[in-house]
């Protein structure tokens, strides 16, 4: 299975019936493809919609946060950006799934700038991670072989101490007050391989095989 698919499928299992969910661009967007029929999740998008539906190529009036034409599901509604971020910052979004360049042992993340190289800006990410009840990071475990889960982020932060869960192609990690707990590992890897690919210390108690791996 493609590593992005592994990550998206596993995160889909975290979403509960009735959750209001905001998905970031990239792997997070793919999570919507792996929901089961009994997971009636409502998608919010920061550009001003609750009830975001599948992509719709010719649509111009409705777009997702990546400016791609999209549909609205029945019951959905539109609102302005101040209301959209009141919903986000005010704690009304149950889960946000975002990508990151780095996450650290304190649950801080860096995702919006590589100084001197790439400066896309933070967009809505800083508000989303501060406001959403649960913050799940969807990312590959390493970048060009280098760990992305660090003792301390080296890049400018998106937010301090806001991440709840990290899902990679190798493992599921929960961020708690005492550090990073390794909960699940992809059976294709050993615990030692996960430890080697992670700079931050991992608390290892009961590790189970990664859910959602069955094809």
């Amino acid at each position: 299975m493609d590593e992005k698919v592994i990550i998206a499928k596993r995160i889909a299992l975290e979403l509960k019936n009735g959750d209001l969910v905001n998905l970031g661009i990239g792997i997070p967007t793919m999570v919507a493809n792996y929901l089961s029929e009994d997971q009636a999740v409502v998608f919010q998008s920061e550009n001003g919609i609750i009830g975001l539906g599948p992509l719709c190529e010719d649509e111009e009036e409705i777009v997702n946060a990546g400016a791609m034409g999209a549909s609205r599901v029945p019951g959905g509604s539109f609102f302005d950006s101040a209301t959209s971020f009141a919903i986000i910052r005010g704690g009304h979004v149950d889960v946000t799934v975002l990508g990151a360049l780095e996450v650290d042992a304190e649950g801080s993340l860096a995702s919006w700038i590589i100084p001197g190289k790439k400066v896309p800006g933070m967009g809505g990410a800083m508000d989303l991670v501060v406001g959403a009840k649960k913050v799940i990071i969807a990312m590959t475990h390493t970048a060009k072989g280098m760990p992305k889960i660090l003792k301390k982020c080296s890049l400018p932060l998106t937010a301090y101490h806001q991440v709840n869960m990290i899902v990679t192609e190798m493992a599921v990690i929960e961020v708690k007050e005492d550090g990073l707990h390794l909960l699940e590992i992809n059976p294709e890897y050993t615990i030692d391989q996960v430890i080697e690919s992670t700079e931050a210390p991992l608390i290892i108690e009961n590790v189970i095989p990664m859910k959602g791996m069955e094809v």
Partner: protein, 218 residues
Amino acid sequence: MRGFIQEEQIIPFLKDGLTLMVGGFLANGSPEELISIVIESNVKDLTIVCNDGGFVVKGCGRVIALGRVKKLIASHIGTNPEVGRLMNEGSLEVELVPQGTLAERIRAHGAGLGGILTPTGLKTVVDKGKQIITLNGIEYLLEEPIKADIALLGGAIGDEFGNLRYRGTMRNFNPIMAMAADLTIAEVSKVEKELDPEMVITPHPLVDYILVGGHHHG
């Protein structure tokens, strides 16, 4: 509303050095014809407040790509390579603001507030040089209002009174910018006799002029 307006009546409002708010989210709901008029007016040294840097061929990014903007206040600039280039070259100043903070700072000016307290951006570069205020044991960042000389709104449908509603996700920053500028000009795709009052998002006294779209392209 003072009235419906044509391009030649808009040009005299546009001057070098003005601060313009431009509605839209990655050009969805951006006033493309008003942006074309800004370009045709040849004004320069503008400050633009917009969610993002748009694209080289769409949204406020068209004005930026022509080198007419000295400062951009936005949450995201990744879709317009010209923004990054001009910024690195030193000819464009960019103030990156978290999107929710940007919306609320604009709203604050329009709502007569002296600022807002937000947890967003704490312990990041966003909090540099800003006052941190602790209320009931929780830290917040004090963010100041943003105002403009002119707000240019898009994505709207108007009525003969100047009331506006918006199409789909084109609403985004438009209604909050309508209240945060000295002069507000809306570009509408259609004018109805009277909008259902329950559907009006921007009431007519908040709109100064309306340009009926359909004359300019790209």
